[in-house]
Symmetry: C2
Subunit: 244 residues, 2 copies
């Protein structure tokens, strides 16, 4: 009784129902890791649906990593979706104000520099490339929550020179004005000492969450930023769920 194992619940679009029916079987152990699912043609019969609908249901599960599909070999349960997780990447402004608290930010520095000046080079750009350097601290209810150190490529975004960032913080301004197509993130932990600790208003030796990010527009470097968050005032939360 293959057909009886899959139960449609009548809720919402048919392809979602099929997704849930198949997902439930996988979660309940009806299909284990490596097991092969019925072919699309068979599922068409089982669910009395068109092949397009079945395909949409199953290929979406494949995109999420729950199953893997191969021509001729068919569809097998894979569980690869466990290898990634999604985290929100909010601007600090959104992070603070979404919790109903007071946001404020303060520019600490703003100057034009050459790539490589001051020791560090942004390897994605040639040496001596013109950059705008910005340092700002973001406060939540008056308490520093993020130190932003940012380089913006003046070749890619020349009109940033005319922007004072008095109304909008650099991060938010860039999000609103410069479309990007690629991003790289690196997360790590570090200890705040000396000047850094002073800027963040924390005791030297405080653990901080550090995010390094580069963004590109069609391969062209746009901006590179380091965001330092005091560990006791900031964390990132993400949820992931299945069920269609």
């Amino acid at each position: 009784m293959t057909a009886a194992r899959f139960a449609l619940d009548g809720q919402g679009p048919l392809f979602k129902q099929i997704q849930r029916a198949v997902t439930a079987q996988i979660l309940n152990g009806g299909y284990k890791l490596g097991d092969r699912l019925p072919s699309e043609a068979e599922l068409t019969q089982i669910f009395q649906a068109s092949r397009q609908t079945v395909n949409k249901a199953i290929s979406e599960l494949a995109k999420h990593g729950l199953v893997e599909r191969n021509r001729r070999a068919g569809t097998v349960v894979s569980w690869r979706f466990q290898e990634r997780f999604v985290l929100p990447l909010q601007d600090v402004w959104d992070y603070v104000s979404s919790s109903g608290r007071l946001y404020r930010y303060q520019m600490l520095a703003r100057r034009e520099v050459r790539n490589g000046e001051g020791g560090e080079t942004w390897t994605a750009l040639p040496a001596e490339a013109r950059l705008l350097f910005i340092e700002a601290v973001h406060l939540c209810d008056g308490l520093p929550i993020q130190l932003e150190s940012r380089y913006i490529s003046l070749d890619a975004v020349p009109w940033v020179e005319a922007e004072s960032f008095t109304e909008t913080a650099p991060g938010k301004w860039l999000l609103n004005n410069i479309p990007w197509s690629e991003a790289e993130h690196r997360l790590r932990a570090s200890v705040a000492e000396g000047e850094l600790a002073a800027k963040l208003g924390v005791a030297p030796g405080t653990a901080c969450l550090v995010i390094d990010r580069q963004t590109f527009q069609l391969g062209r470097p746009i901006t590179r930023v380091q965001l330092v968050h005091p560990g006791d005032r900031f964390s990132i939360f993400g949820q992931l769920s299945f069920g269609g």
Copy 2:
């Protein structure tokens, strides 16, 4: 010349070509934040494709957050995809061995406990619920890279009692044996002191990246784990890109 603005490149499936053509226009500024795209019917004419194909192209962009779709109102550029990012969540074993280094792990503790015992309560389960507590340290080339402190619900996974975890580390064993459908993650930075620093083999005061994770199977709590990584030996890297 609406039609001339969109250029198909002839590479790969038609719906991908359409995706790239539309994405390119958005990235080039042809359509800015809030601008409305042509309707599916219009795109059908522009690209000489069926509505299904156009729908697949555009609704996938919507799923990624590049545009937003509304009945009657049409499709507008939204850029919401900037609000999330995907990070790999590999098991330590994969993380270490994928870089060709030597992996080893060592069990530090394994005992049955009651929820709430020892101060901390796992709020997703009732007090006094039976739990298996496991503590293990994972090493990369002989150097501790992760301290794992895990609780497993014995009501949800009773047969875990029979597992010795001599062959496979608890994290990997769970991944391979217990399907889950929901997960929650929290990332933060903390400083390792005293016993924790000793277990990780780092100097007291070292910054650590801490991941707290809970996983559920159809709403039922399965396991809760805290992973502590020395900041100077571990970081998380993620890439995100667009272009179809």
